[in-house]
Point group: C3
Chain length 360, copies 3
């Protein structure tokens, strides 16, 4: 299953990119990120066309990245800007692929496909979520041993919370029979709504709810955008009250998935809360709860599922399907359509970089 | 080289299976074992047909095993017994393969082939060996990095004891020229008899012999049953005395080999002694001697041999053959015949489980 | 890319081979080295033809190596010298491949090709370098995760010193524009000359230069001999003085590369100095400087280059070429010619050992 190329993918948190170049692998391509003197980030193919050293082992020299092996320098557009050897002429083939890169909110977004199709305004805009000073955030990132679509499956079917996160993120089995699930599609966006009414507050929210023990209504609204970006509202409200985006006690969460390789995924998440606003300890506790649920419950299960699947082609395994699978299946179908559209539109030669030999 | 399917294989020691489900890999298939409320053990394919989570990550719920991801439950016969979602209807394809499983003596035995051919009475009966209260046992198990047939080779040609275990299990080179080897076949059983007369007691038995220093006769009778079950009598008697199964000072040992995958083997052993009956320290010393010989002498050599072979097809390497190889070669020939018989009798489609899609 | 077979390869330092047999892997073949009672070294294929145990797990018995599994013994010519079993007859097929082996200076040299073509006098003679008592040596060896030709590339293009070793082996970027490079070929030997005039003494030589701060001339003369043996003079002289092999303060270094497998290389080096002759601390400091430069600068870069190349066929990647690449490219061209010559001259069947079955 090939990756979608013509998409903006998260290349990392912006604050992780400082003076030193940063090596990342995205869609199984080696990429080096660095910052220009004015702070703008740039992304190049992480392989010098001379002796194939990773440019990420070099250093930033002004606007360019200097190879740490023999000193060729490359600018943000991928052209060679300096050759310290011989007559200092720049060999015609001395250039590397450059990738469109945008910094928006806390994230760096990279375009892995045809640069002519990149529209910066289409990179995920999380501003309405995270640019509110009154909503403090916690965040983290992990490397998962699974194809990113298996992680999308996990996030679009939160019925797993009853079993996998019973006692941590949910109250467990009590909720199974009562969960209501709804799926909608808007353009290429899939929306999965989960409702659990008249339940005790979920453990990780009970303190935010002031320790009150009355039953409440739970809501979870997940919006999936291709390829692996999920925006999520999860919260509780008093029974009988409205359950809108900004009602009650809630978290606004972004789950951002970037394929590292066919069976590895980089997962960045960020969660903004509307409670315990000035309480740093509450923020730490919230981070700890999400971190624990993810690293001790989701992550091992997702890796085990990938291992047992033995492939990334879920449908070829002919899974038994349950009602909760509707959203995840719709996302897979949209992904398949986008993949087909990309392959049909592809130029005769694939868009990959290849250095030509300099005659000597 | 495919595995023999229509055989009982050891799935583990019975005492290792308690409240929690247990994941094992046998013939490269993932299996989950669990106990029903009445104590009977059950074995299922360790993969939920819904999202392919390992069922071994779930928990036992009454007679069923509950998937830890989305909560489907499966009974000991592999049928789905509960679907907590939607209208609770059981999807027709929601079932997993169930394996015949027998608990006998200290072992769990699993049938990996056509269930219609499984006869419980054919699972290895070690009762005459180990069900004698007067014969205390020691036991252990290891994971080896080699095909199980390479381990059978090791156990059916104990001439290696002179070199590999010289000073621990044998007195070393002195015995090489004097060892007498005999091979017999009875049905599909291969019997390898090794005799070393008029030697000092083997180091690991000398204490059992009361520290006496007269020379003795050594015997080792190994019975191999397909695929990898070996029953072994090893002992010493005074010169001129009978060398029957129950004469002198002896151990009755079972060496039980289960293929994990093509190049990994699970090895369970158990040894009953007729000496130092009430002496727990003697039991510990005996365990330590066998454990040391196996983990420090046999195991590294067997893994090194497998690595140097680079294949599991010994005969394709055209080995130089010595007299001591007769029993091991006979066992390989019987295995080849059984393999051919299985393949010839196989139905058109192989006996493997495959879930069908539930139309949604 | 197949290896050159008809070459002498370094099998190790002679002083590392003592009473116990030593296992090495060369050109992806398992080899066991051992010493005969008179001290001569011998090399055999490290796999017993009986059950394929590594002979290196056995022990030296007089002139022979005894297999540690079942006791067959093999002499330095590869013939079986003892069978302890049955009638003690030696099975006709019981022999292993023997390799020509020479001990010269500090090195053991092994011939991996047709024994009929081995001429001991062609093994690298480092005597004029290292047999001078007045020139103390330091040495070491490492295992690298790269094809040996990638390491040759590194050593024949020392322009990398400016960037990769700036501040340790060189004064860094200052030198880039001033470095003069010359390449010569003499027979199958490639000579790469690097000159940097009028520079501060290189950091690792400054102490040897008595801490004097005048500018000096630097020279580096590298001689490559197939397949991977490089002899190197590196030194500094006062400006205006001759720059011959034995002028000024210098090191005579041998860089000896042996392919372990396609992407692993054993690297032995030895460096003789003409300064601080009785100063053991200076020797330690020199070892530390070379060791540090190699393990912290070269080794990670070479492994990263190999990983990024993803192949051992450099030219297939169409590298951009710089003037400094001339010597390395010439060495690759000579290697290609020698490879072609070997393949053209090869007998119909390749020269590999294969045991025949002994009928039983």
């Amino acid at each position: 299953m090939s990756f979608l190329k013509n998409q903006w993918y998260c290349a990392g948190f912006g604050h992780d990119l400082a003076e030193r170049p940063l090596a990342v692998r995205i869609l199984d391509e080696p990429i080096v990120l660095y910052r220009l003197p004015d702070g703008r980030p740039a992304a190049l193919h992480d392989r010098c066309p001379h002796r194939f050293a990773p440019l990420s082992r070099g250093k930033v020299c002004g606007e360019s990245l200097q190879c740490g092996y023999h000193g060729l320098e490359f600018g943000a557009d991928g052209s060679c800007t300096s050759n310290p050897w011989g007559d200092h002429a720049i060999p015609k083939a001395a250039r590397v692929r450059s990738y469109p890169l945008v910094e928006r909110d806390m994230f760096l977004w990279i375009w892995m496909g045809d640069p002519a199709l990149a529209r910066e305004e289409e990179a995920l805009d999380l501003g309405t979520f995270f640019n509110r000073p009154q909503h403090p955030v916690v965040y983290d990132s992990y490397k998962l041993e699974a194809n990113y679509e298996v992680v999308v499956d996990n996030l679009l079917d939160l019925s797993h919370g009853i079993y996998l996160h019973g006692g941590t993120l949910t109250n467990g089995k009590e909720g199974a029979g009562k969960m209501r699930v709804e799926m909608k599609q808007e353009g290429d966006t899939v929306i999965a709504l989960h409702r659990r009414d008249n339940e005790l507050p979920a453990p990780f929210l009970s303190k935010a709810w002031g320790g009150r023990t009355e039953r409440v209504n739970h809501r979870s609204d997940m919006h999936w955008h291709p390829a692996g970006n999920l925006v999520h509202v999860v919260g509780i409200t008093e029974i009988g009250q409205p359950q809108g985006r900004d009602d009650g006690v809630y978290l606004h969460v972004a789950h951002i998935l970037t394929p590292i390789s066919e069976r590895q995924t980089h997962y960045h998440w960020i969660a903004a809360r509307n409670f315990a606003l000035d309480d740093a300890e509450a923020g730490k506790a919230l981070h700890a709860a999400i971190h624990r649920a993810f690293t001790q419950e989701d992550e091992p299960m997702i890796a085990a599922v990938q291992e047992r699947m033995g492939t990334t082609d879920l449908m070829a395994l002919r899974p038994v399907l349950l009602p909760g699978d509707a959203a995840a299946l719709r996302a897979r179908r949209i992904t398949d359509q986008l993949r087909k559209r990309e392959l049909d539109a592809a130029p005769v030669a694939p868009v990959t970089f290849r250095a030509a030999v300099t005659p000597t």
